[in-house]
């Protein structure tokens, strides 16, 4: 799994870490049940704050891709399929795009709901 971060990017570093993991799942580099590298190791290797990495992992947990347990580390859940990771990645990109265009959460949710309507 390749974790890439760019300090000059407007995307928060934690989100970049999460995006790297999503990409790895989507490309089949990691599978359900596999452990993510310890946050401390990632932080030290990339020269970023431990809490930044943990924020990225927590985002993945909120998306249902990762199970975070004390003493066990971050483990990819059974739900961490390629499809879900790919959708999560697109959603993250959509949110970033919406933010850059000044759109709020409700605007995006409205657009997504509309897109789900039959005939769309």
């Amino acid at each position: 799994m390749l974790i890439r971060i760019d300090a000059t990017s407007p995307v928060p570093l934690g989100d970049q870490v999460a995006a790297s993991v999503r990409r790895a799942i989507a490309e089949g580099q990691v599978a359900a049940g596999e452990k993510l590298p310890p946050a401390r190791e990632v932080a030290e290797s990339l020269g970023i704050n431990l809490h930044t990495v943990l924020r990225g992992y927590q985002r993945l947990r909120d998306e249902g891709l990762v199970d975070l347990r004390r003493g066990r580390g971050a483990v990819l859940t059974d739900a961490a399929t390629r499809g879900q990771a790919a959708v999560s990645e697109r959603v993250a990109e959509l949110v970033a795009l919406a933010r850059s265009m000044g759109l709020g959460e409700q605007d995006v949710l409205g657009l997504v709901s509309a897109a789900f309507q039959p005939g769309q």
């Binding site: 390749l2 974790i3 760019d6 580099q29 452990k35 990339l46």
Partner: protein, 329 residues
């Protein structure tokens, strides 16, 4: 310390203890021969006795084995800077074991006219011997001194070497878990052997050795390969101990491809060191990451996704060379 002095120090630290063990064996017997009975009893030999010439010969023989072991290992690892200290640790512990066995045998027979031999001395019990061996091994480890200096790589990856596209400010970490079923089977084999030794013919040193080998094999059955801006490492995840590692400044080029099983003996899994190459083998075939280092030694790591790993290593090497070039300007 220059590299030559370091090599001499490691040779002395490795080879002197077996010589001392042999000298203790001969010296003890020479000094106390007049106070010993005609035979050594309770040695497990024919009729549970052995001639003193046989006892001394056994001690000298094991000392020679330790000497050959140390010298051979030292030669085989002359280009592997990270694997040197174990050599000293092993010959120190082995030599103390040899000398200790001979000394206790002589002391148990002092001023004895015949059998039975005196019971085991208190300091030959497992609770004393095992910690003493551990302390001696640590002392040998420490006495080997710092690892030999490896020269920095003067050339970089070729133009055809794989590379990764990284933005100027981008940083990257590549990591992958590897699991060796065969190494785990070896661990189970040694664990069963330890249990068998404990139940049938109890000898605490044999049991301790079997347990040690089983634990080492189990620890090597699961590892994580990590590549960052500084080094390539194979790390034991639970112990967070590097099993194999190389600094990127010592790496000339990384390549990836399919592992050729004929390059290693069939039974070699987990961490391996040969005079020409070191590394970590988890599988019989599959992807392999190859690193060529500045002293000609090669590092092989069987890991899925080795192509991306090699590309990242070469990209990091390019960056290092570019930075060094900037510094020279």
């Amino acid at each position: 310390m220059t590299d030559q002095l370091g090599s001499m120090r490691r040779a002395v630290v490795t080879l002197v203890p077996p010589v001392v063990a042999g000298a203790v064996t001969v010296g003890m017997y020479a000094a106390l021969a007049h106070r010993l009975p005609g035979q050594a009893y309770g040695t497990g030999g024919f009729g549970d006795s052995m001639s003193w010439a046989g006892v001394v010969g056994l001690g000298i023989g094991w000392s020679v084995v330790a000497l050959i072991w140390g010298a051979g290992w030292l030669y085989a690892r002359r280009r592997i800077p990270t694997a040197q200290r174990w050599i000293g640790a092993s010959t120190w512990a082995g030599s103390v074991l040899i000398a200790g066995y001979e000394v206790q045998l002589v002391l148990r027979h002092l001023d004895l006219a015949g059998p039975p031999v005196r019971p085991d001395l208190w300091w030959t019990s497992a609770p004393v011997v095992l910690p003493v061996l551990a302390v001696v091994a640590v002392a040998g480890w420490w006495a080997m001194g710092p690892a030999p200096e490896q020269p920095d790589a003067m050339e970089g990856p070729g133009s055809t070497a794989p590379r990764l596209r990284l933005a100027a400010g981008e940083r990257a970490l590549w990591t992958s878990s590897v699991f060796s079923r065969r190494k785990l089977v070896w661990a189970l084999f040694w664990a069963v052997l330890a249990a068998g030794s404990a139940v049938t013919a109890y000898n605490y040193l044999v049991v301790a050795f079997d347990v040690f080998v089983a634990v080492v094999a189990a620890a090597q059955s699961w590892a994580r390969v990590r590549i960052d801006e500084q080094r390539v490492q194979v790390v034991q995840p639970l112990l967070r101990q590097a099993l194999v590692g190389v600094e990127l400044r010592h790496v000339v080029e990384a390549t990836a491809g399919a592992f050729d099983p004929s390059t290693l003996p069939r039974a070699v899994y987990g961490v391996f060191h040969t005079p020409a190459q070191s590394g970590y083998r988890a599988t019989a075939g599959g992807d392999v990451l190859r690193l060529r280092t500045s002293n000609g030694h090669r590092i092989l790591i069987t890991v899925p996704g080795a192509a991306t790993a090699a590309a990242l290593v070469n990209t990091q090497l390019d960056r290092r060379r570019a930075t060094a070039g900037d510094d020279r300007c």
